[in-house]
């Protein structure tokens, strides 16, 4: 009987267990150590090797508010890193949620001394998905007419550094789906391209990392945690990794329980 019941635990019990297992380590962190992936180091080292005098970077904000918990911390960490390295960056958004989220990050950096329009610009949102990526690649300087704050883009000092897409030292694209790495790979084959991915997109992107079409990749929240550790500034992302671990354990335990119940029950009913 009990085995039959265990095969079919009410999903609400599962949900409640999830809440407990995740909330506990968030309130009382355990401090499980984190190893750093090579693809994260690629991003870090690529940025570190750039020259602030000549190089300009694109941080594309293509992450939706829904996926922001997974990707937003990556953007925060990298933007902060670029600010510390004094490398100017353009932020175009290819999803409509982008600019307002970027605004919050930039405001924080401005309070630390970032000069808007010189060190960074929030270019705003351009609709059209892949077509918009293509439009940006064709004309990075003129495709955005006014930025998110209503300035004329062409007049900003930072834009004088960029004429063609090949003037960009690195494009790092933070994405929760569409448009994403596939669109960039198709539309901008000549550009050094790195991706900040929502965890779900990672397996599908691996073949493109292996074929070097993607150079450097941050994998979800864990990627952000690793990046924070590389910068030696552990922040929010690192704090959440404990909860991740316990959540995984719970799910694995549930799967094992369900399967044990399934087999024991099958054996018992055969007798």
């Amino acid at each position: 009987m009990i085995w039959k019941k265990l095969q079919d635990i009410d999903r609400r019990i599962i949900y409640t267990l999830m809440i407990v297992f995740l909330l506990y380590p968030m309130m009382f962190p355990i401090g499980i150590p984190i190893e750093i992936d090579a693809t994260t180091k690629d991003v870090f080292n690529t940025l570190k090797a750039l020259n602030p005098a000549t190089d300009t970077v694109v941080l594309a904000a293509s992450y939706s508010v829904g996926g922001a918990p997974d990707v937003g911390p990556q953007f925060d960490a990298v933007a902060k890193h670029l600010f510390e390295l004094k490398i100017p960056f353009l932020v175009p958004s290819f999803v409509s949620d982008g600019p307002a989220q970027v605004e919050r990050v930039l405001a924080r950096l401005e309070s630390l001394g970032l000069v808007y329009g010189v060190d960074a610009v929030n270019l705003g949102f351009i609709t059209g998905g892949e077509a918009a990526v293509k439009a940006f690649v064709d004309n990075p300087r003129t495709v955005f007419i006014k930025d998110f704050r209503g300035n004329v883009v062409a007049d900003l000092p930072i834009m004088q550094r960029v004429d063609k897409v090949t003037d960009l030292a690195y494009v790092l694209d933070f994405q929760t789906g569409n448009p994403g790495y596939a669109d960039w790979i198709r539309q901008a084959p000549g550009v050094k391209y790195g991706a900040g991915l929502v965890t779900v997109s990672v397996p599908a992107a691996i073949p493109f990392v292996n074929s070097k079409q993607i150079v450097g990749m941050l994998k979800g929240l864990r990627g952000a945690a690793e990046y924070e550790l590389l910068m030696e500034r552990p922040a929010l992302a690192v704090a959440k990794m404990d909860a991740q671990s316990l959540g995984h354990l719970l799910i694995v335990a549930l799967i094992i329980l369900g399967n044990t119940a399934h087999f024991v029950d099958k054996k018992l009913s055969k007798k």
């Binding site: 599962i14 439009a135 064709d138 292996n210 671990s245 354990l249 799910i251």
Partner: protein, 218 residues
């Protein structure tokens, strides 16, 4: 004519864009630069899409207006929908035209930060629960194929969370192998198939062999 013109439009636009990936320079017999024409066309697509969004919203509003007018069940919710639609639209448009009005800008950022953004995050986060219930429900080793799915999933979970390496230091190595070798293999095979299928579909549309989307010949 009613069916020919749309087919011609699709063909001309499609061929122009496709050629722009292979060729540069001017279109033969004209002074038009191919790359520029292609950029213009994709830009126009953005504008047409924006008009389409208006059309679709009319459908949404009509359905809910009808609910309100007939006082159907849950009509209060339809009122909530229409009101929040109006607020977001009006505030956004106002801020666009008067970007220097600070109090309106703050209000606009507030409704974004406290309604639109967290509600989206909440719906997305529901996946955290669903991924747990789906794995519990679906991952039963009922058949050989199901066992493969289950085994790979569990090994991945143990390999990717920081705790996995503490349980057994081989977990990340196994999951790394699964991700880089097995996963690449499967993805590659499926991707190649998908590319061929998608290309064939696109070609049929380009030539005008698929015209189901044009409706019956009225």
């Amino acid at each position: 004519m009613r069916r020919e013109i749309p087919l011609i439009i699709t063909f001309v636009v499609g061929i122009t864009l496709l050629s722009s990936y292979f060729f540069s320079g001017t279109i033969p017999g004209t002074t038009w630069v191919l790359a520029k024409v292609a950029t213009d066309i994709t830009g126009w697509g953005i504008i047409v899409t924006a008009f389409a969004a208006g059309l679709a919203s009319v459908n949404l509003i009509r359905i809910h207006a009808e609910k309100i007018a007939r006082k159907r069940q849950d009509w209060i919710n339809s009122v909530a929908l229409v009101v929040s639609l109006a607020v977001f639209f009006v505030v956004g448009v106002y801020v666009k035209h008067y970007p220097k009005n600070i109090s309106m800008r703050t209000f606009s950022q507030n409704i974004f930060d406290n309604i639109y953004s967290p509600y989206g995050a909440a719906m997305f986060a529901i996946l955290g629960f669903y991924v747990a219930s789906a794995s519990y429900r679906a991952f039963r080793a009922r058949s050989f194929e199901a066992s493969l799915l289950l085994g790979a999933a569990v090994l991945m979970m143990l390999g990717s969370a920081p705790i996995g390496v503490l349980l057994w230091n081989q977990f990340p190595i196994i999951s790394g192998w699964l991700l880089n070798v097995v996963n690449s293999t499967g993805q590659r095979g499926i991707n190649i198939g998908l590319a061929i299928g998608a290309f064939a579909t696109a070609m049929r549309l380009l030539i005008g062999l698929d015209r189901g989307h044009l409706g019956s010949g009225e």
